[in-house]
């Protein structure tokens, strides 16, 4: 029996923000993009798909997947979908407290509190980063707080004779390691991994149950200010100069110039 936990975050569907909607708010503290919907963060959905593939390869009921998120009721649809796909359990850490400021560390702390309450997991899967503030630290910090190893950029994992064999990318190659104790795995966008779609029947069945809700007390630390002060959010000033396809010679000359005289960025 293997218990897997997938941490998922509901994020803005940034791929569907129109170019003209990337406008910073007047106070330069946010980009109002409420016009687009919210979806499960892509890296988290890839992590869920890897967990489901692992489950598919084992005997029935050998693998139990729990999906954990932190947020409000808007997470319900995402969690219902996860159950429809084969997650055994979905849990939402209620996030309704006024005045609590959640950065990566506070989020990781809260998730770890929930994980300790939920039981022991062989693998804890996190997306490498979420496409909002792109801090990319929640999984790393969860591993630190739980005192377990972390393996980053995981491509796949499978049962081995003496543990679970993890395939992952390092800076200069593809590595393998067998783990025998709980570990955090972070997942980016492996080339052949996309989250499958649930059947309508499965969604209807999943909708009959609900996610479990965990209400954790707010720590004093979470009420105090962040140790980062955001000064402003702004957009780069890159503008694309369009070239005409009818003048290939000019394009070739430009390529030659840019390749020879490219400037450094710093």
């Amino acid at each position: 029996m293997a218990d897997l936990l997938v941490c998922a975050k509901l994020v803005w569907d940034l791929e569907n923000v129109l170019a003209e909607d990337w406008q910073t708010s007047q106070d330069e503290q946010s980009i109002p993009i409420d016009s687009v919907g919210k979806i499960m963060n892509t890296c988290d959905s890839n992590a869920l798909e890897l967990a489901l593939r692992f489950q598919d390869r084992q005997a029935q009921d050998e693998v139990k997947i729990t999906v954990l998120t932190m947020g409000d009721q808007r997470c319900r649809k995402m969690l219902t979908n996860a159950r429809a796909l084969g997650a055994w359990r979905s849990v939402r850490v209620e996030q309704t407290e006024e005045g609590a400021a959640y950065d990566s560390l506070r989020t990781a702390r809260r998730l770890c509190e929930a994980i300790r309450l939920l039981g022991r997991f062989e693998l804890l899967l996190f997306g490498i980063s979420a496409g909002e503030y792109d801090m990319g630290q929640t999984g790393l910090l969860a591993a630190e707080l739980l005192g377990v190893p972390v393996i980053q950029n995981v491509l796949s994992f499978d049962k081995a004779a003496d543990g679970i064999l993890i395939r992952y990318l390092t800076g200069d190659g593809e590595a393998c390691t067998t783990i025998r104790e709980p570990a955090v795995l972070t997942v980016g966008t492996p080339p052949d991994v996309y989250l499958r779609s649930p059947t309508l029947k499965a969604v209807m069945a999943a909708a009959k149950s609900q996610e479990e809700i965990l209400e954790l007390p707010v720590r004093e630390d979470d009420r105090s200010g962040k140790s980062q002060d955001w000064i402003r959010i702004y957009q780069g000033e890159k503008t694309c100069q369009m070239l005409t396809a009818q003048e290939p010679q000019k394009i070739v000359e430009l390529i030659g110039q840019l390749a020879d005289q490219g400037e450094g960025t710093q």
């Binding site: 909002e132 190659g173 393998c176 959010i233």
Partner: protein
């Protein structure tokens, strides 16, 4: 402020991080270069870099827990800001170290400077590279990892840094690989000109055309995720969040839509020229130059002009 760069090899990433640290440093600051497990030859070269002190930490070999070692270094040298070179595992070390010592960690920094009260000021990409966020760090310890291949590598000069040898707590790493299959020679990583094929490359004929174009330009060839997924290109050529990051002078994308994970892999490129038949493709929002045309028509014309 006491600033340090902690590295385990004298490679390009280390030199780039030294440049980032030098930009962050002001006159009153002390800059330590902490060499963990460097060879004698590497140490001699590192002595030529501009800093205040070269701190040498000897280790028993690979598989050392760099977080525990760095924690000890921070205490011994009373460091306030620590930069780690952007190599595999640095983000884990930087995040864990800040967590242990009540600090703040920022990964993938694209600009480092000092604020009015001399606090560390960081700019990083946000909203899937569609915006940048600038903030100051008000923690007693700040750990930073600069973006890969963004800063010019520092060049060792004639000067000779004083060397201080320290011993640090050495613990085994929690996880080390059983085996690593290295990618073939890093042609992509070193290339100054790269042509990347994307979703628009649908079959081997298309692929051959794009590869011939790359060959004609003397460029390296890379692939976005859909091309690797379709089996047309190997994993070692994958560029993006789960693949490799490239920093050529010029990157030419062919039939690439410009998804967020892909853009992460080409962000250090100096210039981007995008070829796509869809005028609304996201890649054009991030490109310096764009051509709206079917590459099957355009590339033969370009090759003809190239002669």
């Amino acid at each position: 402020m006491r600033i340090a760069v902690i590295g385990t090899a004298l490679d390009r990433a280390f030199f780039e991080t030294v440049t980032a640290a030098q930009q962050l440093r002001s006159m009153e600051d002390t800059l330590f270069l902490c060499a963990v497990g460097f060879s004698d030859e590497e140490l001699e070269r590192a002595r030529g870099l501009k800093a205040d002190c070269l701190t040498v930490v000897s280790t028993s070999g690979r598989g050392v827990d760099l977080t525990a070692l760095s924690e000890d270094l921070v205490r011994q040298l009373t460091l306030e800001t620590v930069l780690f070179p952007p190599v595999c595992g640095s983000d884990r070390t930087a995040a864990a170290l800040a967590c242990r010592l009540g600090g703040e960690c920022i990964l993938d920094c694209v600009e480092l400077s000092r604020g009015e009260r001399r606090e560390v000021r960081v700019v990083k990409a946000a909203y899937a590279s569609n915006a940048r966020v600038c903030f100051t760090v008000n923690a007693p310890l700040c750990t930073l990892v600069p973006r890969e291949k963004l800063y010019s590598p520092a060049v060792p000069g004639e000067g000779r840094l004083s060397v201080r040898r320290v011993s640090c707590i050495e613990k085994p790493a929690l996880c080390v690989p059983d085996s690593v299959v290295a990618f073939e020679e890093d042609v992509l990583g070193q290339a100054e000109l790269v042509v990347v094929g994307g979703r628009g490359v649908e079959n081997t004929t298309d692929l051959e055309l794009v590869k011939r174009f790359a060959h004609a330009l003397g460029a390296a060839f890379g692939a976005s995720r859909p091309l690797v997924m379709s089996g047309l290109a190997p994993l070692s050529l994958l560029i993006g969040q789960s693949g490799r990051t490239i920093a050529p002078r010029l990157c030419i994308t062919v039939g690439v839509s410009g998804s967020t994970p892909f853009l992460a892999g080409i962000s250090p490129a100096s210039k981007l020229l995008a070829i796509n038949s869809d005028p609304d493709a996201n890649i054009f929002s991030h490109a310096d130059y764009g051509v709206v045309e079917d590459y099957r028509v355009l590339l033969p014309r370009l090759m003809q002009s190239e002669g």
